[in-house]
Symmetry: C2
Subunit: 206 residues, 2 copies
């Protein structure tokens, strides 16, 4: 049943924009399919007609970009919550890595969308990258602390971050796309992989 929302007051065009992004996100989560997101479906969920979407987004691509941007912001918050209050870099790295995997497998369709959707490649990809950067930089700080602590070998910071990110992403992504494999009940496998990379990377450098 579609409920017609009441008209927004003058200044508050921004509010509908937010509702649209949330509706698109919710559609993805609930239907579990990428193509549950059509302009019509989103508009219907918000309680508005489809052309209204174009008052807030140039086209569908821009809407999807906004959805993934918000998703990356949420990811950053999750990493923040997971790492705060853990002074030991190794503990923090592990906690953030596991939080990353947990967040990903908790929202599989969104995660896949964020890592499959190719934005308009030139400027758009930059925007995407910049918004992802909050989480990226947060994790980079953790890795820097690992290096300062001597746990992780010194070297190019970004490269080190990519190594650990690849490990976390690998577990999350594979768990999402092949859920029937015997992953076990918790994230022990994820923890093993993350720990192994940290420990092994340190050993390799010696």
């Amino acid at each position: 049943m579609m409920v017609r929302r009441s008209r927004s007051p003058r200044g508050s065009g921004e509010q509908l924009r937010g509702e649209i992004i949330s509706a698109a996100t919710q559609l993805l989560v609930e239907h579990g399919t990428r193509d549950a997101v059509s302009i019509r479906a989103v508009a219907g969920a918000v309680g508005v007609t489809s052309p209204s979407i174009y008052l807030h987004f140039a086209d569908k691509d821009e809407l999807i970009d906004a959805v993934t941007a918000q998703y990356f912001e949420q990811l950053d918050e999750v990493l923040g919550d997971a790492g705060d209050g853990l002074p030991d870099p190794m503990d923090r790295a592990l906690a953030q890595g596991l939080a990353y995997v947990r967040f990903a497998i908790g929202t599989p369709v969104l995660y896949e969308l964020a890592f499959t959707h190719t934005p308009n490649c030139d400027k758009e990809s930059m925007v995407d990258e910049v918004l992802a950067a909050a989480a990226f930089m947060r994790f980079s700080q953790t890795v820097q602390d690992l290096i300062d602590d001597g746990v992780y070998p010194a070297g190019d910071l970004v490269t080190s971050v990519l190594e650990l990110w690849s490990a976390a992403h690998g577990v999350a992504s594979l768990m999402i796309s092949k859920p029937h494999l015997p992953w076990g009940d918790d994230l022990r496998l994820a923890e093993t992989v993350l720990r192994s990379v940290c420990v092994g990377r340190a050993t390799l450098a010696q």
Copy 2:
């Protein structure tokens, strides 16, 4: 320009089937987009009309399944070529892991398709899994050899395979979806991650 192929002789329906799969694969590779594969496009590429496709596949999903199945078979061959003649399990594991990553990033759209497309879930997913199993079992043998050699800790074999697979998949998948990140020119980062997991996993177990 579309070339009408001549009619197949009586028994050789199988031949067209193969051509259809190849054409679909090629369309994906050349256009670099998932939705370059439509029944019409595939039929056109083969030189046949669209209804002909349905003489060989029940529906589009079954065609896509066949494409990914063939892709997994190719993957198995690649792993075989990479590992043959390397008696040391560690060398072989590394060679196969790097070959995996190289194969994946060489055919990014197919790789994404194979790891995103959700088959009909019940029986179909089994078929998919079984066909993937050739590569899976080949790599499992390598990991078993690693264990026998004492490089990798004893324990559940499948779990160990998943750990290493996750690592290789993580690098490959992230390189594909975020190609603008500074991955370096060759697969050194992939090698580092794979080595780290092996070494680190051994250290953890002690």
